[in-house]
């Protein structure tokens, strides 16, 4: 393997890794406020991408993306209000099954609204063959868009959770729901908000990666599994660690093509997930104490 090819694989791994981290952050936001893993997280990414592609026919791209994100946020809110908000302390098993059901229904509706065709937004700048050469490595401008926007999202989220009142309220709900309610925070609204937020982030991710990865009615499931792997790898609920974990998984996956046929790429990342779950369920950056505090 020469150095050029090596860096090329590294860049590819990095790009996918960042996409996975964004999905993982979506998981974490909902997990933090509710203790639920939303199995329909990948569907938000799919809806975002698909809506943007459809709207792009009628309006300029930035507007189409913004509209797609807002529509997905509304869908996220609706899902929470219709299916989750009114349940009185549901068991984990019940929540898992409900979110799986939501994911199936969303996918089937998407199949009937759009069709089985694979779609994509055009490249934000240049075309599929445009590339910027940095030290002999060819990078598509879209990769820079992905990396840039995702970094921005992470920074903004960090600011939101650390410095704004709303962000602090959401964090309060995640650390102790009853105490937060005694302070006058509406825990139910915070849950809805977390769904809106994570739907929005998912949709944004779906829009910016669609030129590279394409979207299809069923592309959400694969991303959800990867996102979950990354979330667990970094330690559930820890969004900053998710970025590091995402990059690790992306790079590992990218280099796995060297030893294994591409058809087994997914099997590799899932094997990593299983391995992590067996050996260090708290994630590579997590510790056992933090894990035992979380309810399952």
């Amino acid at each position: 393997m020469n150095i050029e090819l090596f860096s090329q694989y590294l860049v590819a791994g990095l790009t996918y890794g960042i996409i996975y981290s964004i999905v993982a952050i979506g998981f974490n936001i909902i997990y933090n406020t509710t203790g639920i893993i939303n199995f329909a997280q990948g569907e938000f990414v799919m809806i975002g991408g698909m809506t943007a592609v459809t709207l792009y026919n009628f309006m300029p791209m930035p507007l189409a993306i913004a509209a797609a994100v807002i529509i997905t946020m509304i869908i996220g809110a609706l899902i929470e209000i219709v299916f989750i908000r009114w349940l009185v302390s549901p068991s984990v098993l019940r929540m898992i099954i409900i979110t799986i059901g939501i994911s199936i229904i969303t996918r089937e509706i998407a199949l009937h609204v759009w069709d089985e065709k694979v779609r994509a937004l055009p490249y934000f700048t240049g075309t599929a063959v445009t590339s910027i050469s940095i030290g002999g490595v060819h990078i598509s401008p879209q990769v820079i868009w992905v990396v840039g926007i995702c970094t921005l999202v992470v920074l903004v989220l960090n600011f939101f959770f650390s410095y704004t009142l709303l962000g602090k309220q959401m964090r309060a709900c995640s650390s102790n729901r009853n105490a937060a309610r005694l302070c006058g925070i509406s825990a139910k609204n915070m849950v809805t908000l977390s769904f809106v937020l994570s739907a929005g982030i998912g949709a944004l991710a779906g829009c910016i990666v669609s030129p590279i990865t394409y979207v299809q009615y069923d592309s959400g499931t694969g991303l959800a599994i990867k996102g979950f792997t990354v979330a667990v790898l970094g330690g559930l609920g820890n969004s900053m660690a998710a970025v590091a974990a995402g990059i690790i998984l992306g790079v590992l996956e990218s280099f796995s093509i060297w030893i294994m046929p591409t058809a087994f790429k997914d099997a590799i990342s899932i094997s990593i997930l299983l391995l992590i779950l067996f050996v260090r369920p708290g994630g590579i950056f997590g510790n056992k104490e933090a894990l035992s505090l979380k309810e399952f």
Binding site: I37, F39, F83, L87, P90, S91, V92, L93, R94, I96, I97, I98, I100, G101, I102, S103, I104, I105, R107, E108, I109, T221, I225, F228, V232, P261, A263, F264, D266, A267, I270, S271, L273, L274, L277, F278, P281, F296
Partner: protein, 357 residues
């Protein structure tokens, strides 16, 4: 308790026979094909009901075990060993009577593993995999357990979809009939349709007898205590990890047996049998049946699979299972076929009677 169990089994047997007689009388015996297939799927479902309902452990990977059973027996019974017939290993096998020579549709000579041998091998492999996977997986709880089993299912799906030996997207076909005994063979051919209906349902009845005895025994009580509270069960001296693991392996064997039989019945297997949607469907049916309710799981398993196989749901097949899943979990998390509901109906009835009077 024991009497009701005997009665339930008896009712099942009577129902099975009367359905067959009914289809014969009304000349609708084509229904038997789907009923046979539903019976095999129900085997997976009652096995999963044991894990989910009684031991309280979710598994979204049972299609994986079904596929392991089906694919192993399909591979062994169709893979031609003739090119290797002089190698010592194959010679030993053939001397031991484990191989059969036959001809395929085009008259090519084949030397393949005997269906009985491949069936047993498939089950042994499933047991090994279930132990290896189940050991660490069942230590996990909640979301982690769900994701891990889902991940297992996807790995199996990717392997069968990506390996040329398993036929990739086409799956394996031309699987021969499985002669259980001389004259009694599992295959989808027309003349043996009624026979196969009875073979499948004999297996379901056997499975039900086994499982309903199990859940009403000491083991069943231990499992329910695990479902209630693992810590409490542990404190009472129940070896929870052992019970969980054995239940998981047993249900995997149910799935694998169903896979083996259905593959011989259909004459082939495709990667869709290993897909996540299949696993979710099994979970959905167990949930509808009422989790810890073997009879509910069986009735719903047969009913929904039959309707699905007959094509009543059309292109909405997956959507309907997803919808049912949500509605049941939102409004009746204990399933539809519950005695409470019957009890409530009974209570409600006299009321309406007095109103009329």
């Amino acid at each position: 308790m024991k009497k009701t169990r005997h009665l339930q089994i008896l009712i099942l047997i009577v129902t099975v026979i009367s359905i067959q007689l009914l289809t014969q009388a009304t000349d609708t015996s084509y229904y038997l094909t789907q009923l046979t297939m539903s019976a095999y799927y129900s085997l997976v479902i009652i096995g999963l009901s044991l894990v989910m309902g009684y031991a309280g452990q979710i598994s979204i990977g049972h299609a994986g075990f079904f596929a392991i059973g089906g694919y192993m027996s399909a591979l062994l019974t169709t893979h031609n060993l003739l090119p290797y017939k002089d190698s010592t290993f194959v010679l030993i096998l053939s001397k031991a009577g484990l191989l059969v020579s036959r001809q395929d549709l085009y008259g090519t000579d084949l030397l393949t593993v005997h269906p009985w041998v491949s069936c047993i091998l498939a089950i042994v492999i499933t047991i090994v995999i279930a132990y290896v996977i189940g050991g660490p997986v069942l230590k996990l709880k909640g979301h982690y357990l769900a994701m891990a089993t889902l991940g297992f299912g996807i790995i199996i799906f990717r392997i069968v979809l990506g390996s040329s030996i398993f036929g990739e997207a086409d799956g394996l076909s031309d699987v021969p009939a499985f002669a259980l005994l001389p004259g009694i063979e599992v295959s989808g051919k027309m003349p043996v349709r009624v026979l196969n209906y009875y073979i499948a349902w004999t297996m379901v009845v056997t499975g039900m007898v086994l499982l309903s005895n199990l859940v009403n025994s000491r083991i069943g009580r231990a499992l329910r205590s695990i479902h209630g509270s693992e810590d409490a069960a542990n404190a009472m001296g129940v070896n929870i990890s052992k019970y969980k693991l054995h239940t998981f392996v047993l249900s995997a064997v149910f799935a694998a047996v169903a896979g083996v039989m259905l593959t011989h019945y259909n004459g082939g297997i495709g990667p869709s049998e290993a897909s996540v949607m299949k696993s979710v469907r099994y979970v959905a049916i167990v949930a509808i049946g009422g989790m810890a309710n073997l009879w509910g799981a069986l009735i719903m398993g047969v009913l929904l699979n039959f309707l699905s196989l007959r094509g009543y749901f059309g292109s909405m097949d997956d959507a309907i299972f997803g919808g049912i899943l949500i509605i049941i979990m939102l409004f009746a998390p204990n399933g539809l076929l519950r005695l409470e509901i019957l009890g409530r109906l009974k209570k409600a009835k006299p009321k309406t009677g007095t109103e009329q009077a």
